[in-house]
Each structure stands twice: as C-alpha cells, then as structure tokens.
Amino acid sequence: MFHIFQKSAQTGLVTFGYPQQPAQIPAQFRGAPAFDFSVWRDARPAAEVCPTGAIQIHDSAARRTVTVDYGLCNYCGECAEADTSGAVKITQNFELAVRKRGDLILTAEYALSPDGNSTYLGAPGPDFRTWDTSNLNQRDSEKLGAPGLDFETGEASNPTDAGAPGPVFGTWDTTTFNPSDSEHESLELKLQQKIHSLLGRSLAIRQVDAGSCNGCEIEIGALNNPIYDLERLGIHFVASPRHADMLLVTGPVTRNMELALLKTWRATPDPKLVIASGSCAISGGIFGINYATRGGVSTVLPVDVFIPGCPPRPHALLHGILLALGRMEQRESLLHSPAINPRTR
C-alpha cells in the first residue's frame, strides 16, 4: 500500500493541457501534408507514390484538375519526399476534423500547355469548403451500386434492384423532406444547437469498431489514460449504446459489421452524434471498397464529424469530439493559427 501512495506522490499531475493549451508534439510527428498549389507545377510524382490514391489527377483537353483528399490520406509523407518543387510540405497539423466530407478535399486547376508545363489557374471555388462535392461522391456512388441496408430497419433496402445506384440512404422519402439549401442549413444549425445544449457539457461515447486494423483503438484507448484523461472534459466511454450520446466509429465498415453497426446506431437514443474516426472510416482508406467492405461509415449512417488520420492521434480525436459538440468553436481563434493550418492558407 505504501508503494502505491509513494508512487502517486512521486508521479504528480501528468495530464496535458490540450485543448486549453496548445498540444506538445514531438518535432518528428508527421501531420497533414500542406500543398502550395500555385507553385506545384507537377503533381504527378507525388500522385504516383501516394499509397492510398489520395492525390488524384484528372486531365481533360488543356485542363488538369488535381485533388487531394485528406479523408483518404494515410499521412505517410511520401508525397513530400517525392515532390521536388517544394510545394508539398509535411506540417504538424493534426486538427483536421470537419463536419462535411467535402471539406477534406482540396482541389486545384491548371492549364496544360503543349510542352507539358502546367499553369495554376486557382481553386474552382472561393473556398474549398463550399466546393461541389459531386466528384468526391463518385467514390461513394461506386459503392452505392451495392444494395444497402435500410438504416432504420436494418433490412435490405431493395434487394430486387441490386445494381441500381441510388441516393445514399436509399429508403429516405425525399418527397416529404426537400427543403431548399438555405432552409436546410438553418434547420441543420438549429438541430445542432439543440444537440449541443443537450449533450455539450457531458457526453457518453460508445465506440464501435466496424472493421478497423485496431490502430484507431490504440489511440482511442489512450484517451482514457492519465495523460489525455478524457473524463476531465465530462466525456466518458460507456459499455452500451443505450447509454450513449455519440457513436465513435472506426474501420471501413466491413460487410460483416454493417448490420451490427446499424443495430448499435438504432439502439442509441436520439439525439445522437456519429463520428467517423480514421481514414478508412471516412473513405475505406488503404483497404478501398471491395467485396468485403462498404468504404466508410457515411455509406451506412449519417455522420456528423469526420476525423482524418491513420490513426488520428489522441489530440486529433479530442479535437473531433469537441468539434462535434460545438465546443471547439470557442477555441477556434486560439487553435487555428494560419501557421499550422494548411486549410487557412
């Protein structure tokens, strides 16, 4: 017994100050790659070495479109090593969580001249956050060829019409709920505020592994250790979805876990939040979309926040969880300094 008290006294307080204070992270950490599109003359070497295909190049006539998907990236840093122009740099940024899948995609357009050179034309929108995500959904619609399960009932949505691509949630009746974009956004905002007022101060999370490699579980488990100590923020992990306010889902959603994930979601009382954690939970990651996987949580459930990373480090998970609760905005000015955030470039 004496040892125990002695050790506790010796050890003292070990908990980090994040998010109230900036995170202390080793200089070697590889966070998000940042891209200076205006000087990135040739994206091809980086695209070639990217193991997950997060850097894509589409050439049409005299135009080249380059997209970078942070939701597919596994943060290996190969692109920065392969690129000789100095336009790609590995940053220490880990606060990458977003509410919209499209916000994880950067895009740039170039004019191609006959001699093979390309000239930067800019991003196709004023802000990539509002960029049309139809390109992105191409990946989603590929897998949408697969008949899905109705996420309310868990039954096959339309087994007879197996091959037809449809809307993400095939059984949603869109005729009765079809607000305009602005109405939709204000409804969404109100709903979010309501959820934040209900869950924002104390939150119970049910973690669901929908086929991950267990890398995400290591980092999620670390949130419980004395260093990160999630409970100091009023957030804790619970054993049953019935006690949960939030599902923290990892993995590309294997076909074998699809029904279990849906059942867990249905067992979670409303209002509830869903977070997709890790690149494979966002897009299928390095596993891709295949006979055994669905290719991301959003193909099965509505997702509130996406946390990129492979796996996301505990700070990044914490950032994403607080973002889902609307608690991150209060710290926005402090935490999103332009120096570390490639997106505010």
């Binding site: 070697q28 193991p51 697969a146 250790n225 979805p241 990651g285 006979y291």
Partner: protein, 532 residues
Amino acid sequence: MTLAITRYSPRSFDKIRARCAVAFESWIDANEAEIHAAVALSDIRPVVQSLVENGCRLASVFAEDRIASESSFLLYHLFDHPGDSRFLLVRSSIPASNPAFPSVSAEVPAVNWQEREIQDWFGITAEGHPNPRRVALHDNWPEIHPLRKDFPIDTVLPPFEGEQHVYRPTHGEGVFHIPVGPVHAGIIEPGHFNFAVAGEPILYLQLRMFYTHKAIEKRFEQLPVRHAVYLAESISGDSSFSHGTAFCQAIEAAAGIEIPQRARRMRTILLELERLYNHVGDIGAIATDVGFAIASAHASRLREFILGVNEELTGSRLLRGVVCPGGLRRDWTGQQTEACITALKHFEAEFADLMRIIRSSDSTRDRLDRTGTLHPDQASDLGIVGVAGRASGINRDLRRDHPYAAYGEISFDVPVYQEGDVLARLRVRVDEVDQSLAIIREIAARLTPGPHRTSLPPLPPDRIGLGAVEGWRGEILHWVRTGAEGRLERCKIKDPSLSNWPALVEAVKGNIIPDFPVINKSFNLSYSGTDR
C-alpha cells in the same frame, strides 16, 4: 522459469529427410532460410505425419491459384524444426479439375482454421476435415471464392440473408447461453463469443470471428509493392512494424537482396519498442480487468511514454511509414538514439515501480494464479505461438530460432513457464520487457553510421519469399509470390492470433464468467490480424 538453452544442430532437416518414409519429388536448398520441397498430393498425409513424428512443427498451410499458368492450385505446408534455422516449404499441386486436398487437421489440430480458410477462399475441399464448416466467410455469404483469380475484388455482393452462424446447442437444467458481441463493451475489436454456462462456470466457448474481414490478402494482389507495405502495416495496428517488417523480409527474400547492417539494427530496435509498448499495455489491461485501477493508470502512462519514444524516433506513434523493402525509409541521428536510451532508462525505473505495485497486491495474484490455464500438452497440440505458447511450456521464439534483423548478433533469454495460467502469461511479458530493454541497449551501442536502406531492384515475376518475425504477440509469417509489373501474385499472411484463438477456448473452460475478460486480455489476440 527455465531459461532457453541455445540448441543448435543447424541442419537437422537433412537427417529428418533421410528418415522420412515417403520420397519427396524434389528437395532444394533454396537459401539460408528456406528449403523448398515438393510431394505428390496423395503423399501429403504420410509426409506430414512423418515430419511431425520427427519433431517438426506444421507452422502454416496455404494455397494459391495457379490455374492460368499451371492449370492447378498449389498447396503449401510450412514446417520448422527446433534443430534447424531454416523453414521447410513443402509444395504440392492440386489439379483444377478436382479441387480437393487431404486434410491433416485430425492429426495436427493447429491447422484446423487454416485448412478451412483454403476451403472458403479457394473452393478447394479439405477431404477428411473433422469440422469442415465455413470459418472465414460467414454462413450467410453467397458461394464465392474470393482468392481465386477469376473473382474480381470489387465484386458487389447482394445483401446477406439467412443464419449468420449456427452455434452448437446446449441442453440441461440451469444451462444457458450468453451471447457476447460482435460489438463489445470496451474499446476493442469485434467478434462473437457464445458462452455456454452452468451457473457461473463456463462449460464451453464458441467463437465466431472474421467480422473484420476486409479482403487484405486479395488487396495485396492489386497494389504495387511499395504501396503494399502500408497495407501490411494495417493488418493489425498494434503490430504495424512487425507486420511491415515481415512483409519487407518476404520481398527482400524474393528479390534476393541483403539489407545494410544499420537497417537490420534499426529494425531490431523498433521491433523491440513495439514489443515494449504492447507488453506494458497488456500488463496494465490485465490489472484493469482485475479492478486494480492504480496499476492500470501507471501502466497506461508508461505505454504512452513508449509511444512518445516511438514518435520521437520515427515520426509515428505506431511506427508506421518507417519500414520499406531494402531497409528503412527514414534514418535517425546519434542524438536521437541517445535520447531513446535515456528515455528507456527512465522507463526501466518506472516499470520496476509498476511491478512492485502489482507484486505487492495479494488480491491481484489471487485473481491471476491458476486462472485460465492452458496446459502445455494442449498448447503443443494446438500449435500455440508467442507469449501464450511460452507461458505454456513451448520454448520457441523466432528471434532466436530463425534469426532475422540483428537478432543473430546478440544473445538473450527466452522466458518459458510451464503453468499456462494468466499469471504465467503476465510473467512472460514482464521478463520480455526486461529482455527487450537489454536488447535495445546492446543494439543501440552497436548502431554505427552507415546506409539505412538499399535500393530494391525491379522484382522479376514468379519469385517467392518468406518473411518470419516474432512479433510481440507471436509468430508472424508473410509469404509472397511476385507477379508482373512489380505487383504481387499472392501474399499469404499468418498472424499469431489465427493460431491462438483456439487456445482461448481451452483456457476458459471451467473458469467463471467474471474471469473471462482477464483471461482474454492475457492472450490479447488481434481480431483484424485473424480476419484480414
């Protein structure tokens, strides 16, 4: 504890061959690590029997689809022997017209699941298998054979219908079933445990795995080798570096290249760091599951400490993106090595304090002693590997028996216990932490400047290679055959968890349900590594 005796008569396979009743069609000393032999399909059973009687261990059974080039499937049986530092790979050919092979699971239960995987993935019947039910594909999957070459990886399967798995019924007064999973109560991976209990004691446990099956072996056939390393790192996140290294070793064997000495030593250090953070994490998890919160908190703090050391050396907490065929992608400085050694000195003192706290608790010892016992004879029959095997009297460690990286340069102890209970598995981990620290110190002292990678020449097609790594959990095997354009024709992965799940079934028998979590944690098997 019995310490390992260095046992060495390096060429015992040659003697065994002479004693074998059945003639091999061929026998080639392929390289320093492997012998390649071939037998007729009809001779498999006598050959396996004869080799096993002579003290060989059947480590793995796997197949590949060679219909396009040879109109047949190839079946491989991989053996090792305590007196030989090489592996023996026995090949036999299965005609595509009659896809069946003689099962040896009745004689060698260790390959029960592996033979059934071949049935599921290739549609080759394991004739005479005592339990030929599906294992890798759930019962409600359509009749598909995904590892056949004519099955496209992006095939869209219809929604599944029918029973997912039929569990053995249990009858009797007061006997009932407790189904658990696939979504478990903690932050762990999915799988289904079906307990049959009479009161608190467990009568038997039925496992249903493969919930996280994500077509990894098939996916290896799509990716260029340099990208496939990242897939290898994602087979089981807690063994990212071990799986990555096993894969790279297989590629290096196929390419016939040697990696620089510095790379071998750096790999050794990183492999041991991976062992450290997982072992100390497991020690903490065992403490958690007996309700010893303070020990668990200290252990999780120490695990976080090692993850920080990992990051400072390599930029990745889980040691990802470091290993590559030919060595390592990144070097580190002498200063970083020194910082690592200083940090580990601090860790060593902290770990000693942690163990003093755990050892001072009689109630913890009471919960662990004779809980979840796996008897040595059961462990040997089931071919249990790694920590669980060494806690049940199996004196085997690939680092010593088939040296790779820089393990051949040094000597170290392999802790072996006979008790086979949770306490023994805890002790193996504690002893291995001490050994790992000593290994890192010794290798770091030898870490001289030099190249950290050699370039990988273009891979010619149809080369094969085996990579074997003693991960922190146990034996990790990767076997590759190269294909055209720098891609792989086949990559077989065997995670130690695949061998060890049946041990859990035996170990929980007769224990009470409240002890299941701690028994399960003492094995700490990877679901993702099993399911792939």
